[in-house]
Amino acid sequence: MRFHFQLSPISLCGGIVGILLVVYIVLIATVMSYAALTIEFSQSVKDDEAAVAALEGQYLAAVARTTATNYAEEGYALPIAKTFVRAKSATALR
């Protein structure tokens, strides 16, 4: 079978322009999608961080409440004696 393939310069340039146009459109779409996703993910991370900060605020408020509690007024008695722990366990278990 005889195969003859010939293109004029105009057709070749037209084809290249077409391909470049498609590539350009794809690039724009990719960049826009990338930017949108970046912003969306970033905002999502910040939202999560803010939610964690709210929980941390609750934790610190709980610590402050615990510190401010007068346990004698709550009916608890002071210990008669205190024995503090040793530096290392007496057993081999750590």
Partner: protein, 577 residues
């Protein structure tokens, strides 16, 4: 065949041209015809056109188990802006906003803003929650924009507020750290505005290097401090209680690891809530630990004692003749009670806090050597990572009059910052080595790398022997004198010293009835894990520091022993082991 191929190429070209035309037409409609509508929609989704969303790194507390708790971070929500030119019914819009927003919106301010028809953008409410913002946005009120907003938040409120610092607008329109760690680490915490919106392909073609090794990622990050939130809360609570109880002008406390200089807690009163700066006295925004100098009084005596022992001019067995009062360069110096003790051993200088004993040691050391010790300890700023650190006032040690040295020996006539004082006393606790106090222990870079901060070499000031001899005296003070001997913990040695200094008058001289109280202690005495410095300025109705600060100090000691499970260093017989 060729004609057939050409016709196909032609068809493809025609298709591409139509496709391009379609896109151009679509772009025309998107950008020109419906441009304003899309712009408003984008605004609602993201941020105001005037600038990007506020972004900034976090500052963390570090719990004893190493977990991090935010000291300063970001909150997200929404702001409400109006366009007075589009707003049809301001009264109805105001009702719609206040129906969903818990944030107080002043009616007068809103009506005033809506009357400004020459403007197109006025922010009328801030810090709406996620739910409130979305609810208001869903109403799609013409002329009302609901925009994403971020702001700095401090989950601990007033916890270590003066040390963490604040973010605010300065002379320009840029939010930046202005005080505390926010200011000193602003370069690490601040974020470049383009980081989110950069064009990937533009970066790829114009700045390949940045994609591989981003300079900003190597610089920007979060700051991790050594402040422990539970200890900080306890210290702040104690400082507040004593300040209120004695109506003091101000009070403060620092807890530090004397071997590393890591500050575990630092609290002062009065203070402020970093989340609510509207009614804060600007004077409170500064940090008294580095910006104020005080005459600390008798907590200077352990330093004088150690200097005398280190210089070899005294030993623990040395005695001096205590006459109750002496006159030096026409100035009269007396013991706190004015009473003479006769022949007195060195141990009693610390135990009974004898001014004459401290002055006598200064005489024995000599001016040159005494100056060397004190300038070695206080002559330079500590370099702590807080802004606006000031230096000590040591002018009396540059003069030939001996009275300046004699009074400096018991902490009067020279003024130092609290951070300098705890560093100097830390040298006594730390076998004679002076370390650099610091708050930040590491920086967590955006690249994911955690960079530990190096806080310099230790500087030897005293010999270990001299410090141990002084510690024995401070230990005896805790076990035998403090709180009538009840302060003694059988299983833990604690070294302490109290200080009561007369306050200076504006025109010179000292008040007879106004005092500055200070208290220092560390434990376990010979291998301390914590050194605690407390002070209260001008407490009312009380004269001595042993009356004001011992309760707070002992509470902190017991709390720290329990919280960190500090093992006993004495009084634990072998049968129990």
């Amino acid at each position: 065949m060729r004609a057939q191929f050409r016709s196909r190429i032609l068809l493809i070209l025609i298709f591409l041209i139509f496709a391009a035309l379609g896109i151009i037409v679509r772009l025309y409609f998107v950008q020109i015809v419906n441009g304003e509508e899309y712009s408003l929609k984008a605004d609602r989704q993201f941020s105001a056109n005037s600038g990007g969303l506020f972004d900034r790194g976090s500052i963390y507390f570090t719990r004893k188990d190493g977990s991090l708790i935010s000291a300063a971070t970001l909150s997200t929500g929404f702001l409400v802006a109006i366009n007075p030119q589009v707003l049809a019914d301001p009264e109805a819009v105001y009702r719609a906003i206040t129906d969903v927003a818990s944030t107080t919106v002043s009616r007068d301010a809103f009506m005033s803003a809506s009357a400004k028809k020459g403007q197109v953008y006025i922010e009328v409410a801030h810090r709406l929650s996620e739910e409130e913002g979305r609810a208001l946005s869903a109403k799609s009120i013409p002329g009302v924009q609901v925009l994403r907003e971020r702001w700095r938040t401090y989950p601990g409120g007033s916890l270590a507020a003066q040390t963490i610092g604040i973010v605010s607008y300065g002379t320009g329109d840029t939010l930046a750290g202005r005080t505390g760690l926010e200011a000193i680490y602003d370069g690490t915490l601040s974020r470049s505005e383009d980081s989110l919106y950069k064009n990937f392909f533009a970066e790829l073609f114009s700045n390949v290097g940045n994609l591989l090794v981003n300079a900003e990622d190597a610089r920007e990050g979060d700051v991790v401090t050594s402040i422990e939130p539970d200890v900080q809360t306890r210290l702040a609570s104690n400082v507040e209680k004593l300040s209120i109880r004695y109506s003091s002008k101000e009070s403060g406390g620092i807890i530090m690891d004397p071997s590393t200089g890591a500050i575990i807690a630092i609290a002062s009163y009065p203070t402020y809530d970093g989340n609510n700066l509207h009614s804060v006295d600007p004077a409170l925004l500064g940090n008294p630990f580095v910006e104020h100098v005080y005459e600390f009084g008798s907590i200077m005596k352990p330093i004088t004692m150690t200097a005398g022992l280190d210089a070899g001019v005294i030993t623990p067995a040395t005695a001096y003749n205590d006459t109750g009062c002496i006159t030096v360069n026409t100035y009269k110096i007396c013991n706190w009670d004015g009473k003479a003790r006769g022949t007195t051993p060195m141990r009693q200088v610390i135990m009974q806090s004898l001014n004459l004993g401290a002055s006598w040691i200064a005489d024995q050391i000599g001016q040159k050597k005494f100056r060397e010790y004190f300038t070695g300890l206080f002559g330079e700023k500590t370099g702590v990572d807080l802004p606006n650190e000031t230096g000590a006032l040591l002018g009396n040690l540059s003069k030939p009059q001996q009275v300046g040295y004699d009074t400096a020996a018991f902490g009067q006539g020279i003024a130092v910052t609290p951070i300098q004082m705890i560093r100097a006393l830390g040298a006594v606790a730390n076998d004679g080595y002076m370390v650099q106090p610091h708050l930040a222990s590491a920086v967590r870079l955006n690249s994911g790398i955690e960079r530990k901060l190096d806080w310099g070499e230790k500087v030897r000031i005293f010999s270990a022997t001299s410090t141990h001899e002084t510690i024995a005296m401070m230990n005896a003070l805790n076990d035998e004198i403090l709180y009538g001997g009840k302060a003694k913990i059988p299983t833990m040695s604690v070294a302490v010293k109290t200080g009561t200094a007369q306050l200076t008058k504006q025109g010179g001289g000292y008040y007879d009835d106004r005092f500055f109280h200070s208290f220092v202690g560390f434990f376990p005495s010979y291998n301390p894990r914590f050194i605690i410095l407390l002070y209260t300025n001008d407490p009312k109705g009380v004269q001595y520091a042993s009356e004001t600060l011992d309760v707070a100090f002992l509470d902190l000691v017991h709390f720290l022993i329990d919280y960190y499970e500090v093992p006993p260093d004495r009084g634990f017989d072998s049968a129990q082991q």
